[in-house]
């Protein structure tokens, strides 16, 4: 249902052998746009490889004359990359586990257990998505300050364990596609709801929780505002804070900066390439939801 890959209609067979002039125009446009999209990447990679003289060369060199791989090490040392990397990884992992587990749990209750008010609660949860995060920022800041959570990772991790509305929405849609006869059979065998969730539902809805995990990790890895507000001392920082602070330095060493930036980009990029179809699935569900 949510799988857009399968929903792609295979168009009428076209004549592949000959290109009409119209198709040629299309191809040229696609390639042209792709080059524009890739140019910033290209600039970034070449900058990361340039020597100190190379980056301040006038006119700027599109392709560097000499290479310097030491930028990677120097840049990473300058922002204490390894420490910030571990910090970010811990925060991202814990908030991802929390949001996926809690959303799968709540989604199960909303789709598989009949109880009065379950529809209303579903709409309330989904409706709460509409509330801009900024509204809660200052009151939560004060709350965290008063209970001693300021300058800890807890404000970045704990809220994730109480269900993510969008993920609950995704989970609920997916659970509906699992045949009810499966849980009926399990119930006859004496299985409770928790057993059905862990033994039947979670294995059968793998695509949806992988999608959630990717989105959640991505969100935590990229988040800037929350760490900026809550993490005061540098050893506790996330990578997003470290990378942004780099640009605060006067006379930024751009080659080292871009080199470090490339490493910072790698985890999300790798996940994207490995799990591309899950990205499309999650987004596809957004489209299908609006059509319904």
């Amino acid at each position: 249902m949510v799988n857009t890959e399968k929903a792609i209609p295979v168009g009428p067979t076209r004549h592949r052998s000959r290109w009409t002039s119209r198709q040629l125009v299309v191809v040229v446009m696609i390639v042209g746009f792709s080059v524009i999209m890739l140019l910033p990447f290209f600039w970034m990679i070449t900058t990361a490889l340039k020597t100190n003289n190379g980056i301040y060369h006038l006119p700027p060199q599109f392709i560097p004359h000499s290479f310097d791989l030491a930028n990677f090490g120097a840049g990473m040392r300058a922002v204490h990359f390894s420490r910030l990397f571990i910090n970010t990884a811990i925060i991202a992992a814990l908030s991802t586990i929390g949001s996926v587990a809690s959303s799968m749990f709540v989604g199960y209750g909303l789709s598989r257990i009949r109880f009065p008010g379950r529809k209303i609660w579903f709409y309330v949860f989904v409706g709460s998505m509409m509330l801009p995060g900024i509204v809660s920022l200052i009151p939560m800041f004060r709350l965290y300050l008063s209970i001693g959570w300021y300058n800890t990772w807890l404000p970045l991790i704990v809220p994730a364990w109480f269900g993510n509305p969008f993920f609950i929405f995704l989970a609920r849609q997916y659970y509906f596609s699992v045949p009810r006869s499966l849980d009926e059979a399990a119930k006859l065998d004496g299985a409770g709801h928790f057993t059905i969730l862990t033994r039947i539902m979670i294995p059968m809805t793998r695509p949806v929780w992988i999608t959630m995990a990717i989105f959640s990790f991505q969100g935590a890895w990229n988040d800037y505002l929350q760490p900026l507000v809550y993490l005061y001392s540098q050893p506790k920082w996330t990578l997003s804070l470290g990378m942004a602070s780099f640009s605060g330095i006067y006379n930024t060493p751009w080659n080292e900066y871009m080199a470090t930036d490339l490493i910072y980009m790698l985890p999300p990029l790798m996940i994207f390439f490995v799990a591309q179809k899950y990205f499309m699935q999650g987004l596809g569900s957004l489209g299908s939801a609006s059509l319904r």
Binding site: T4, V10, F41, P132, L137, R142, W221, S288
Partner: protein
């Protein structure tokens, strides 16, 4: 299914208990992370406090100060409005155009879809810092391209007129996100409809106008609303690139809130600003929904 009435009822009570147990995390989350801040923020907007002190009730003073005395308020509102007006339509139009361009069977088309989507995957801070260097007036790539084309160069982020458009351009680099959702929408349009339209002698523009546009209008609407709400809350761009300058030209509202709260320690004032932004978002969203009945096509009008 026939069941004994008493057992049935007990069974239902039990299920209700289990059901609420299952949604308990979200119920707690709703209370602590949504309702509590929502209610208290109304009060905080009516107080003065510096983050450490106890909030002191001052009535509507914060709002009066914002609307009458604050020199940053109206320029920030203007910058945010301009940002929304520039970034939302441009990303919708470009996103739809690219989706239509890529919605065809061609060899290797998936590679191109991936290329267009790639910038979306990058962490926002990585993208912004990359563009900060691209926009460097002396050593940056943007001016290099302009020089190569013999066009006048720009100060980009340092220019009063160009800073905001420069930020919009960065956003357009991530147009792949919009594109991919349009693409999913285009692919759900039954192919037979296009064939029928062509058989009826419909030209490209007529087919786009009469067939494609109505069928994807729900997605267009979704993206429009999400785009408006999202861009009204843009924060990272001014925070990382411009600190709101030059002047107030990129002093987007969210950044202004952040500055008042966490830099100037005027939390009450910032909370009042939050409510101005929140109410503006609600009004604009309702307005967009109202207008939507005029142009969003629904498959089943009787429903």
């Amino acid at each position: 299914m026939v069941q004994h009435p008493v057992r049935h009822k007990r069974h239902r009570n039990h299920d209700a208990l289990i059901g609420y147990l299952f949604i308990l995390p979200s119920l707690i989350g709703l209370g602590v992370f949504v309702l509590y801040p929502l209610v208290t923020s109304v009060y905080y907007g009516l107080t003065a406090w510096n983050g450490v002190s106890t909030p002191v009730f001052v009535g509507l003073q914060n709002y009066v100060y914002l609307f009458v005395h604050d020199i940053a308020f109206w320029p920030s509102l203007k910058a945010t409005g301009l940002f929304v007006l520039m970034s939302v339509p441009s990303s919708l139009i470009l996103g739809l155009a690219l989706a239509m361009l890529l919605n065809r069977k061609l060899r290797g088309i998936r590679v191109f879809r991936t290329i267009f989507y790639l910038p979306v995957v990058l962490p926002s801070i990585a993208t912004l810092t990359l563009w900060k260097f691209i926009y460097d007036p002396k050593f940056g790539f943007a001016n290099e391209v302009l020089r190569a084309l013999h066009l006048p160069t720009s100060m980009w982020l340092g220019s009063y007129t160009m800073a905001l458009p420069a930020i919009v351009i960065i956003g357009l680099w991530g147009v792949g996100g919009t594109m991919i959702i349009f693409l999913a929408g285009l692919q759900s349009v039954p192919q037979e409809l296009y064939e029928a339209a062509r058989l009826d002698g419909g030209g490209d523009f007529a087919i786009f106008r009469r067939l494609t546009l109505p069928l994807i209008s729900p997605i267009l609407f979704l993206l429009l609303v999400m785009g408006i709400i999202g861009s009204m809350q843009a924060f990272n761009q001014p925070a990382v690139l411009t600190s709101g300058g030059p002047g107030f030209s990129t002093n987007l509202f969210m950044y202004s809130i952040y500055e008042n709260a966490f830099q100037n320690q005027q939390f009450g004032l910032a909370e009042a600003q939050v409510w101005v932004l929140f109410i503006a978002i609600i009004i604009i969203t309702i307005f967009t929904f109202r207008l939507s009945s005029m142009w969003v096509y629904t498959e089943n009008d009787s429903e």
